[in-house]
């Protein structure tokens, strides 16, 4: 059976034009997908049933026993951390936030090691963004700053920018200028009209220089700024100021390097300066398919987008204190529920070591690095394959993911909902 208009649940592009062929409980072919989508849909290897660590060995357990034990671990903890959430759908995220409130826990999503600093900057100076449709149809200048879409978001260029013809941009490849700013050459910089190579840690200075040029202060720019020549800075500023509609997309090259949230703030303020000359927008290249959704869901329930601490009975947010890496580094949490992410692989060593010291429960379809650190893992259906729910694309557009067949696994919502009910029963008794 061929299913059309399938939504890919890999990266923040949430491409919704895949054609997937399904045979019983298996995907056998994918059309229109990138390499990542093909691997996601076809190379699907799952953990078969819940597993529990007993001493130095792993044993199979039932779903009911795993759910009961998870509830007990969370209820016994003084400072539980509920981490992950960007690889599941909004309805499950929502129950996760209510569970955190009931437990007095900290709930954090993967933005914490991704675009968390971007959110901090947006809270300071706002977000002059737009939808990807606007970019596709109007933008004649695209800037990728500290981002490598060919590797991380493989269809971003073909669906929305470099190669995507739009309503007002009839021949995109000829009419759009693409600028890539990075500390190293990448596949994406190789296809750019202009590659600006910045010295490591020099993004803030280069953004400041561009702001000065856009403000008409060319005379104060030195011969070189963080490895970029004055001439190239002038050229880039002129391309941007002469655009009819420009769009900056930035990646973790800004959020993870020196300056972090202040780099992003400077990029937003450059966008503001450019808007004195023309129309310019800026947007983060969100990584996980529903990381934007986790920010939306957390915010509409608690008022804060990530790193929300309910220990006081009310929602409290303070990046650097209530963020997962800091909590784990300090050895502060005494239990952790990991949902749809892999901190064992993606957190610094010291944080992963703490996960091995405390009871850690993982809810995830696959065996990953965190599996080896956990005390319990509960496999679930993969959203977009055998579960469905709401996700938010990187530009904030909600898209309903689809179920391709009825599988045998429960969804994230089924499992987290049952854990929530058990915790509620105990709290009320």
């Amino acid at each position: 059976m061929k299913v059309e208009d399938v939504v890919c649940t890999f990266c923040g592009c949430l491409c919704d034009d895949l054609v997937v062929e399904v045979e019983e409980n298996r995907v056998i072919s994918v059309e229109n997908g990138c390499t990542l989508a093909n691997e996601k849909f076809i190379g699907d290897h799952r953990l078969e049933n819940p597993i529990r660590r007993e001493g130095g060995r792993w044993k199979d357990v039932s779903y009911d026993a795993a759910i009961q034990e998870t509830a007990e671990i969370l209820l016994d903890a003084d400072r539980p951390l509920l981490y992950g959430w960007s690889g599941t759908f909004g309805e499950a995220q929502s129950v996760g936030v209510h569970l955190a409130e009931l437990l007095g826990a900290v709930i954090d999503n993967t933005s914490t090691v991704c675009h968390g600093p971007s959110i901090m900057a947006i809270q300071e100076v706002g977000h002059p963004g737009c939808t990807l449709g606007q970019v596709k149809n109007r933008a004649d200048v695209i800037v990728y700053w500290g981002a490598n879409p060919i590797d991380a978001h493989p269809r971003h260029m073909s669906r929305y920018t470099t190669y995507a013809d739009g309503f007002f941009v009839k021949e995109a490849f000829k009419e759009r200028k693409v600028i890539v700013v990075d500390v190293r050459k990448t596949e994406s910089s190789a296809v750019a009209d202009e590659f600006v190579k910045v010295d490591r840690g020099g993004d803030y200075a280069v953004l400041s220089a561009l702001r000065a040029i856009v403000r008409g202060k060319r005379d104060i720019i030195p011969q070189q700024v963080a490895g970029v020549t004055r001439e190239q800075l002038f050229k880039v500023a002129d391309i941007c100021m002469n655009a009819k509609f420009g769009a900056i997309f930035f990646g973790l090259g800004l959020t993870m390097s020196r300056g972090k949230n202040k780099n992003v703030r400077n990029a937003i303020e450059l966008t503001e300066e450019l808007n004195r000359h023309t129309k310019f927008t800026i947007s983060p290249m969100r990584g996980h398919w529903n990381v934007y959704g986790s920010n939306e869901v957390f915010t509409w329930i608690t008022g804060y987008p990530y790193a929300v601490d309910f220990a006081r009975g009310i929602a409290f947010y303070n990046p650097g204190e209530t963020t997962s890496v800091d909590i784990l580094k300090r050895g502060e949490c005494d239990a952790c529920l990991v949902v749809a992410s892999d901190p064992g692989a993606h957190f610094p060593r010291a944080c992963a070591e703490h996960l091995a010291r405390i009871p850690t429960v993982q809810i995830d379809p696959h065996v990953n690095a965190t599996t080896h650190l956990a005390t319990l893992q509960i496999p679930v259906a993969v959203t977009g394959i055998d579960a469905e729910g709401t996700a938010y694309r990187m530009d904030g557009v909600p898209i309903r993911t689809r179920k391709l067949f009825d599988g045998t696994y429960p969804s994230d919502l089924d499992i987290i909902g049952k854990i929530y009910e058990r915790v509620k029963e105990v709290k009320r008794s």
């Binding site: 600093p117 190293r184 650097g320 800091d326 064992g344 060593r349």
Partner: protein, 129 residues
Amino acid sequence: MRGVLNTGRTIRQGSFVERKNSPAYREEAASLHMNEVDMLDLELEEGSHVNVRSDQGAVVMVARPADGLARGEVFVCLGPYANFLVNPETHGTGMPDFKATPVTIEPTTEPVPTVREIMERYGGVGYEG
């Protein structure tokens, strides 16, 4: 050799991200991309094993030449090998310095650990399957 470790996504890392215990994932996640002149200096060939050390510890990876990196700059895709070396300090932002870890690199004949072995070093119990 002293260098600075940068990390980021690669399409091969993304392709095998849901099979982190596979040889294909290990091959990508444990690849240390280096400037070719630096490799000559250390008498490394493509595929040579290197011991990479930071203030957090040391892990064995595989050297690979990369044309886009300056001397002293090395790149490893995000994952357990890079994160073995990353300091958890966030400077009050919640975000560690994933893009700039000072490291030293030297040739070695030691084997590259599996993801499972790294997690066992952290105190975990390896799961077969």
